[in-house]
Symmetry: C2
Subunit: 273 residues, 2 copies
C-alpha cells in the first residue's frame, strides 16, 4: 500500500479502524498536527504557554470544551478515534497508550491542535533529502533540550526537538524549505552538536525511536509539539490526553494553505462552505 | 521636535508626563502595539479569540493577572501610564478617555499586547509611500467591516481595518513591505472599493480621523487590533481598559526583530539579559 499518496480522509478512516503506525511517510503534502486535550481549568494557562512559545506550539485550532470534532483542520474528524495512537497522562505520569480514546473522553476537555514537523517531510524528500526514520520504518527521534521555554502558570520545561540527519551539501536547502512553514515549526532551532543543547546521547531519544546517522550527515533539530506535553507533565496536570509521539493527526489542509489558516480570507471561505 | 527619530523610551517618558498625541509619525522602525486589559474571567475566551483571528490580533506579550509592567516588548514600561491615551469601557460602552489609567487599574486585569500597523508606516514612508494621516496630523482612519471574525465565547464581530491611501504605482511595493511583517498585521486584507467590505462612507471612519484621498490613489486596508475591542464591546464585558485608537504603545522592539519575538533564540537572549 502506498501510504505517501493516500488521502488524509482515507488515512483517518484506517486509524479509526485500528491501524497503528507512525504518521511519517503518510499523506505527503498535508498538514500533520499534534493534539493535546486538557481539562478546561488549565486551558488559559496552557493556551498562554503556546502563545509564549509559538515555535514549538503553533496553535491552529482549538475546540470548544467537550467538543471532539474538528471544524477548521478537517471536516468533522473525531479526534478521539481518528489518530493512530494516544497517550493518557494522569498527574504528570504516562498511564496508558491506546489506539482509541473514546473511553477516556471527558466533557471538560479542551482540545488544542498544533502544526507539526512531519508536515514538511514530504517536501524534504522531494528535494532529495531522505528521512532516515521513514527508511528505517520507525518514529522520528525526539529529545528534551536544555533550552528553556517561557513558562505560563504551572506549565514550564525544556524545549523538545525532533531530529533528522541531513547531508552537509543539502543543509541550506533543508533550512530554506522548512523556514517557509512557521505553522509547522519553521526553520531548525539547532544544527550540529547535540551536546550544546543538552542532548547527552543522540542514540537515546526521549521520545520516538533512534535512527542511524551517516558519516557525511549532520543532525538537524526542529522545535517539537511535545514541548507542551512535557510542560504539562512538569505541571502535574491531573489529566491529559495527547496523540502518541510521532503518531499524529493528519489534517485536510494542503501544505500550501498552511500560511493562510485563520486569515480573514480563509475564515470567509470556511464560513461559506 | 523630531518625533520620528525619537527613542521609544523617551516617547514613553513624554506620554507618562502628559503628552497626548497619536503615535503615528513617532519612533520610526520600532514595533507599536495595541493594548487591551480585561478581567481574568474573560481571559481564556479573549486569548482564544486572538488565536482564532491572528491577522487582526497578533498577540506578542501577555502579562500576569494584575501585572502592569512589560517584560518582553519593553523593559519595565508601565502600561497604565506610558501610553498617550486610554479608553475605558464598561458593559460594552465607552465610559471615559484618559491620559493616565492608574485610577482605573484592577488586580484582576490581564493585559494583552498585539503588534499594530503603525509599526510599518516608517518603512512605507522610506519607500516613497507617504502617510496621509501623518501629513494631516491626525490619527489613522479605521472602520468596522462586514468581514466576520471567528467568534470565541462571548467575543464576536466584524473585522476592523485601518486605511491608508496609496498611489497605484506604489501599490505592489506597499503590499510587499507590509507582507513581511505578519506580527504587525502583515499584507493588506483588502485593496480598493470600500463598499465591498461594508464601509458605506470612506470619509466617516468609525475610529480615528478622516483623511483626504487623491485622484490617483487607492484606499488600502489592513487588519486592525480594534477588532478585539469591538468584539469585547459586543460581548458587553463588564470592564475593559485599552489604548486610544491610534494612540498606542511604543515598544523597544526594532522592526527587524519582530519576526523573532518569542522564538527560542529570543527567549534565551531575554533570559540572559
Amino acid at each position: 500500500m502506498d501510504y505517501s499518496s493516500m488521502s488524509p480522509k482515507e488515512a483517518r478512516r484506517l486509524f479509526r479502524n485500528g491501524l497503528d503506525r507512525p504518521t511519517s511517510g503518510m499523506c505527503y503534502g498535508y498538514l500533520q498536527s499534534s493534539m493535546k486535550a486538557i481539562p478546561k481549568k488549565y486551558a488559559f494557562d496552557f493556551l498562554l504557554f503556546c502563545q509564549r512559545n509559538p515555535v514549538p506550539e503553533p496553535v491552529l485550532e482549538v475546540l470548544e470544551p467537550g467538543a471532539y470534532e474538528t471544524k477548521i483542520l478537517a471536516d468533522k474528524a473525531d479526534i478521539r478515534t481518528d489518530i493512530p495512537r494516544y497517550n493518557v497522562y494522569e498527574h504528570g505520569k504516562l498511564k496508558g497508550i491506546v489506539t482509541d480514546a473514546k473511553s477516556y473522553w471527558r466533557d471538560d476537555l479542551v482540545t488544542f491542535l498544533m502544526g507539526g514537523s512531519i508536515t514538511f517531510e514530504g517536501s524534504l524528500i522531494k528535494a532529495g533529502i531522505p528521512m532516515r526514520h521513514i527508511e528505517e520504518k520507525v518514529a522520528v527521534s525526539m529529545y528534551v533540550t536544555n533550552i528553556m521555554t517561557n513558562p505560563s502558570g504551572p506549565f514550564w520545561g525544556g524545549l523538545v526537538v525532533s531530529m533528522r540527519p541531513i547531508k552537509r551539501s543539502k543543509l541550506a536547502r533543508g533550512v530554506e524549505i522548512t523556514a517557509k512553514l512557521p505553522n509547522a515549526h519553521g526553520a531548525p532551532i539547532w544544527i550540529g552538536d547535540p551536546k550544546e543543547i543538552g542532548i547527552k546521547d543522540i542514540h537515546k531519544p526521549d521520545f520516538g525511536d533512534p535512527v542511524s546517522i551517516k558519516e557525511d550527515e549532520i543532525p538537524v533539530f526542529w522545535a517539537c509539539g511535545l514541548t507542551s506535553i512535557v510542560a504539562a507533565q512538569n505541571a502535574k496536570v491531573d489529566f491529559m490526553l495527547t496523540q502518541g509521539p510521532g503518531y499524529v493527526f493528519i489534517t485536510d489542509v494542503p501544505e500550501e494553505h498552511l500560511a493562510y489558516l485563520n486569515t480573514p480570507q480563509f475564515i470567509s471561505e470556511l464560513h461559506s462552505k
